[in-house]
């Protein structure tokens, strides 16, 4: 399949789509006009597809500077009567939370969908928060798809629901839905309106106490109305496999595991699948509970529905057992899979469920930690900084490395070990400010270009104003790298590939009054080391911007131009000092079984930094 087919595919055709791709198609079928995001795994591919097709689709799309801005862009579009779609990873909703909560109060005019891609088991995230709780906190209707087809269909349903009740709608996916591929039956793409018109009404869009007191009441009334909708929605359905001893209530990915275990084992159970799960359909669930002997709730991550079910049981004084996370039938943490659900269900079905003999090995397996790519400009940055620290005879234990969210966080791995603290987007600098005040240790903060624009500017202002002593290294690799390579405000391209003004990190740093500001190309090791030496001795806020394109960009450019430079090690002259392997650690350089050092031409990106690293200069361009 070509990406373009997500737009051009006709009604009735089938595509094998990723959950994230299905979300794009659903938005297009729903007549979306404005789409905004800040990239974050597992939601990123939604943006990557819009980047490629938005212009042709006649949709406005942007990579906003952060999730809060993205949410505001979509909220305004919906207030102006357009259909809008904002998506982010689960923790992105924390960044957007302030405006998210208020937008639920103000409501919308055009349909607005907020998609949160949660990450159970934390495949690429800092926590395992369950944004179904966020839905309850905000008072927003919640939809939970179980596969790509449902992702697409719920997008369209969500727009209609949002418009009917003038409230944004939250769709919660998880990694296993966002990154699940499945057969999707296409519907018709609807062209959204190009421009809306904002009809003024301060009493609806200004959240002063004078107005929000009324809005709060309206919100609760809306939710009561919407609950009637969720009670009768065909999205919430009962699958009757016969028998009424056990009723299973489930949603999202967990539903898939339940279905596979039930059909494989021929279990006689009733299943209530909730895709429209907030406001919780109390009467529907009550009816279901009344028709079974015991209840099992299967859900990822928190016991959200389980507590709702317990509340219903308490409210109606029902004497039935509820199995789930709270009684230990199923695990409290991490994502589920068919095996975990099978083990849980076996505890209550009084029947041995199918278990297969699996194989195992006692051989040691090599550790495949994530590592900076060959040719990555962050590696020479860390290498030069390490050398500068050594030359100035600074003690490693006296330096606090406050790092941030992005590829460069991999600097915490050996041999660099330059990562001591990292909690959230932009935290490197705020945490740095705190350490600067609380200790006499040297503080070095690392942040990427995209993360700097996202949440690095307010703490930089804080550092300057409060006279902190920090070396801030802005690792500007000209892309939002970790999430797969999206544009950001520092790049002369916008979210649709159109030319756009390039925002200068250097000018921002100078503008807010940082004492020392230098921009260097980290691939020049000698110069980089000198600049770091100066910055390390600076008393105040020093900002060093290491500017060099991500290897993903240079590799793609070289491929296009047909340039292929590979380096090799002159075996006769190599003294096997191993500095390139042990201190620089490019994944392309390895030790052969016979002890010789070699460069894997498949991995070598031709950056040539290893030539500078080699003390004997025996690394040369391969002919």
């Amino acid at each position: 399949m070509k990406v373009k087919e997500i737009l051009t595919g006709k009604k009735g055709e089938k595509l094998f789509l990723l959950g994230n791709e299905a979300a794009v198609r659903g938005a297009l079928e729903g007549g979306v006009s404005v789409v905004s995001t800040y990239p974050g795994t597992p939601s990123s591919e939604i943006g990557n597809v819009f980047y490629k097709i938005a212009r042709e689709a006649g949709v406005y799309f942007e990579f906003s500077s952060n999730e809060k801005v993205a949410l505001e862009v979509s909220a305004a579009a919906a207030a102006a009567g357009l259909r809008s779609f904002v998506f982010m990873k689960h923790v992105g909703l924390n960044v957007a939370a302030d405006s998210f909560m208020s937008t639920v109060y103000t409501g919308v005019r055009g349909g607005m969908i907020v998609l949160s891609a949660d990450d159970p088991s934390m495949h690429s995230s800092q926590n395992e928060q369950d944004n179904r709780i966020m839905a309850r906190l905000a008072g927003i209707p919640l939809l939970e798809p179980s596969n790509p087809q449902e992702v697409k269909d719920l997008m369209k349903f969500g727009f209609d629901l949002s418009e009917q009740f003038k409230i944004p709608v939250l769709i919660r996916t998880t990694t296993r839905i966002s990154h699940m591929r499945g057969v999707v039956n296409l519907g018709t793409v609807t062209q959204g309106k190009e421009k809306g018109y904002f009809k003024k009404d301060p009493s609806q869009f200004i959240v002063t106490p004078a107005y929000v007191v009324r809005m709060r009441k309206e919100l609760i009334e809306k939710l009561q109305q919407i609950e009637k909708k969720s009670e009768s929605s065909p999205l919430n359905k009962i699958i009757d496999k016969g028998g009424n001893e056990i009723g299973i209530i489930t949603s999202g990915s967990a539903f898939n595991y339940v279905m596979d275990v039930v059909s494989e084992n021929n279990l006689k159970v009733k299943i209530l699948k909730l895709a429209f799960s907030h406001p919780f359909p109390e009467k529907l669930v009550l009816d279901f509970i009344n028709n079974v002997d015991n209840i099992l709730v299967v859900e990822e991550v928190e016991p959200v529905m389980e507590k709702e079910v317990l509340a219903i049981i308490g409210k109606y004084n029902i004497k039935k057992k509820v199995y789930g996370k709270l009684d230990g039938t199923l695990p409290r943490i991490y994502e589920y899979n068919p095996d975990i659900v099978s083990i849980g269900m076996e505890k209550i079905v009084e029947k041995a469920l199918i278990k297969r003999k699996k194989l195992s090995t006692k051989l040691p397996l090599p550790l495949r930690s994530s590592i900076l790519c060959p040719g990555c400009p962050h590696r020479p940055t860390y290498f030069a900084l390490k050398k500068a620290i050594k030359k100035l005879k600074l003690k490693e234990e006296e330096i606090i490395y406050s790092t941030d969210i992005g590829c460069y966080a991999l600097g915490l791995e050996p041999p660099y070990n330059m990562g001591d603290y990292c909690i959230s987007m932009g935290s490197s600098l705020g945490i740095g400010c705190g350490f600067s005040k609380a200790t006499n240790q040297k503080v070095i903060s690392f942040i990427g270009d995209s993360t700097f624009f996202h949440a690095g500017i307010p703490p930089l202002i804080n550092a300057v104003h409060n006279k902190d002593k920090i070396l801030l290294v802005v690792m500007d690799n000209r892309i939002t790298g970790m999430t797969g390579g999206q544009t950001n405000p520092g790049i002369p391209l916008d979210g649709m590939g159109n030319p756009a003004p390039e925002v200068s990190i250097e000018k921002i740093a100078l503008g807010v009054g940082a004492g020392l500001v230098k921009t260097i190309d980290p691939v020049d090791l000698k110069e980089t080391e000198e600049v770091f030496k100066e910055a390390l001795q600076f008393e105040g806020v020093a900002v060093v911007i290491t500017k060099h394109p991500c290897a993903m960009i240079t590799d793609a450019e070289n491929r296009e131009k047909g340039i292929s430079i590979k380096y090799t090690i002159n075996q006769e002259k190599c003294t096997k000092c191993l500095i390139c392997v042990k201190n620089f650690t490019c994944p392309a350089i390895y030790i052969e079984k016979d002890g010789s050092v070699n460069i894997n031409p498949l991995l070598c990106d031709g950056c040539g930094v290893c030539f500078q690293v080699c003390p004997k200069k025996v690394i040369e361009v391969k002919k």
Binding site: P42, H123, M180, V183, S263, R368, M482
Partner: protein, 209 residues
């Protein structure tokens, strides 16, 4: 194994065919499995697949799981894979928990040694012992030098197509070869189709014979 579980296993294998691909970031495992999935869809079969994106792609292990048939979840139950395609020898060992002694297993013999081994913080076992271990545990095993075959076919990058060809040659593979070829043509850049198809055919022959 109890009688009941034995029977259950055979039954489920009739309805659902489970394939796991495992490799290292950058080897093209996701592309290869997507091609299989699309081909299955073309045949009119239901298919679900799980893939890995994000941090793991930077040199880490990449796993994709496919279920062809009436399955809801793409995640393969322990010991249930009908077919395992390992793009790297030690990655085959990492997937042992997903297969049983009757699974069909294809292993690329070309190793990828991670930097952790050079740094001395982990160990890469002797290749011969890896192969001995695989041979001892797996009845239906096919070890092929996909890297060499890809080179001969015209480009080392087509390694994933060699392994895809090998997979299609597995007994009971539920999707027709022609549909897989059609799907390759639709998924990969036209200028590389010739090399990719050559690599695919060579991989297919390697297992078929």
């Amino acid at each position: 194994m109890s009688e009941e579980s034995d029977r259950g296993e055979k039954m489920s294998m009739k309805n659902i065919y489970r394939i796991q691909f495992i490799g290292v970031g950058g080897q093209g495992t996701i592309k290869a499995s997507t091609i299989v999935g699309e081909a299955a869809m073309k045949k009119g079969l239901n298919v679900v697949m799980s893939e890995v994106h994000g941090m793991a792609q930077r040199g880490g292990t990449v796993v994709t799981e496919l279920k062809i048939g009436e399955a809801h979840s793409p995640l393969i139950e322990e010991g249930a894979a009908d077919l395992l395609i390992a793009f790297e020898p030690t990655e085959a060992l990492r997937s042992l928990n997903k297969i049983n002694c009757n699974s069909f297993v294809i292993v690329n013999s070309a190793p990828i040694v991670p930097f952790t081994v050079s740094l001395g913080i982990s160990e890469y076992p002797e290749l011969s012992s890896v192969f001995d271990e695989l041979k001892a545990k797996i009845k239906n095993l096919s070890i092929i030098d996909a890297q060499k075959i890809a080179k001969e076919a015209g480009s080392i990058i087509s390694e994933n197509m060699v392994l895809l060809g090998a997979a299609v040659a597995a007994p009971e593979f539920p999707v027709d070869k022609d549909l897989v070829i059609q799907s390759i043509k639709e998924n990969l850049p036209p200028h590389s189709t010739e090399i990719n198809l050559r690599a695919f055919e060579r991989g297919f022959e390697e297992v078929k014979n």
